[in-house]
Assembly symmetry: C2
Homo-oligomer: 280 residues x 2
């Protein structure tokens, strides 16, 4: 999916909601455990319930890899199912990959090259530590996206990401500055945690046009209104992720209805924020 | 495998060689393509040929993930096979993972918790960008290891890892300094590229006891003698990885014999370097 298609999708659905499929087998409703693939049944129900309100789905690879082959089968079936709604949602492999060039090329094939791996994600999250040649192999795929970690939502973000260098740039700002030479606003986005909303203004000055993937709203405590105030552009420029607050809105038989209510409520707030910005 | 067992293994085999299983389907000898799982047949032959000279095997996850379910099956069979030599080799998942705490816990299960994922690696490579809570979940597993990226062997290492902060520490040195509060020399190692051998002296001052996993000897051009000069400790303290130079020493029917010759030649050099250091 290219940038224009993504923007159209956002305007059409009046939403910039990304649903994170952190589908933990130990947390999904008990009654699903009778199915042969409970996680896929869970994901399918969540997707059906939230698709009208959602522009992106973001499977978190760790929750599938932790279950070995069974987990990877759940992921494959989930992605095949999302493939039937190809024009209706953007898909993100939340994988935090990154390695030397020839290895990153293999990771890019793992997420982007359906003929090789079975997966056809639109985007993958990438860690910047190893620099340009660890990122550029992902950018070689047309209409695919790198979503580079900049300032993450967790406590550990303060261990290295906010360390200031001799030129007065914090590491996350150095990543934003340097990586803009590797790609553009049509094939790169950045991860910026909602728990750092006030730093979004500073980040927006550095990357005025790039989309930001914003985790941390919901279970992690970030505010949607603050994210919009400091991060929204004329093209919206935001994908705000919620995982646990939607997936596990209810642990009972009404989990899908409750997920739809939660997603719908976020979409309503997003619609209003976009309208206030004059985007709709 | 704990630290003492690893040191005994190194002294017993008179080797600190790690063979990287970057088993690229497009590069393995043609005649193996007749097998139902060519990559596993290749790995098994490489393991059989190199085990006398090798203390660690390091499957590079990207080369398996890029082939989807078939690749993950090759990896599972390879790890099951290595499991039959459990006391004879240390196993490393070269995966460069790292995410917020609850996600890193899932990645740790993916590599360490055999009952959950089918995998029982001794160690996993982890990227430090997201800080302590992205690393500590891996350290919660007994007798398992985190191998944290410090200074990598690729060109992109100079994009961020060598940026100096206001206290005069380069980022990789900041990672070394800070992360020593998270673990110890019995459950953490660091990745330091052989192509940076002269910087090893500086690194050894900061982490005098930790094992270093050193890629970049062989195809990437690093020198084994230099690595030993600057990085070896009284416990050896090194695992030097070679991948392509061993795996693809020959592309023909004699690939395993040529791999054994190459691994044996490296072991001989390592034995001499250890003897010179008075370790044997």
């Amino acid at each position: 999916m290219d940038r224009n298609q993504l923007i159209s999708l956002i305007k059409g659905k009046k939403s910039f909601l990304c649903v994170g499929l952190d589908s933990d087998l130990s947390k999904i409703p008990q009654h699903l455990l009778h199915y042969s693939d409970p996680v896929f049944e869970f994901n399918r129900s969540i997707i059906d319930a939230t698709l009208p309100f959602t522009v992106a789905y973001k499977p978190n690879l760790a929750f599938y890899e932790s279950r070995g082959a069974a987990g990877m089968l759940s992921l494959q079936k989930t992605m095949d199912y999302l493939g039937t709604f190809k024009d209706e949602c953007f898909t993100i492999a939340d994988a935090k990959r990154g390695d030397i060039g020839n290895t990153s090329t293999q990771y890019a094939r793992a997420f982007f090259d359906k003929a090789s791996s079975g997966y056809d994600f639109d985007a993958v999250t990438v860690a910047p530590y190893m620099g340009e040649d660890s990122v550029s192999p992902f950018l070689a795929f047309e209409n695919k996206w790198v979503i580079l970690l900049a300032l993450t939502s967790n406590k550990g973000a303060f261990d290295f990401q906010t360390t200031e260098d001799t030129e007065g740039l914090k590491l996350f700002a150095r990543v934003l500055k340097t990586s803009q030479e590797w790609g553009n606003s049509g094939n790169m986005m950045y991860v910026v945690g909602a728990t750092r909303a006030t730093m979004l203004a500073e980040i927006r000055q550095m990357v005025p046009d790039h989309f930001l993937l914003v985790p941390g709203v919901g279970a992690q405590g970030g505010s949607l209104a603050e994210v919009a105030t400091y991060g929204m552009t004329k093209d919206c420029g935001l994908l705000v992720n919620a995982s646990r607050s939607i997936l596990f809105a209810s642990g009972a038989g009404d989990f899908a209805e409750k997920a739809a209510l939660e997603a719908g409520s976020m979409q309503k707030e997003m619609e209003q924020l976009m309208a206030e910005k004059g985007i709709l």
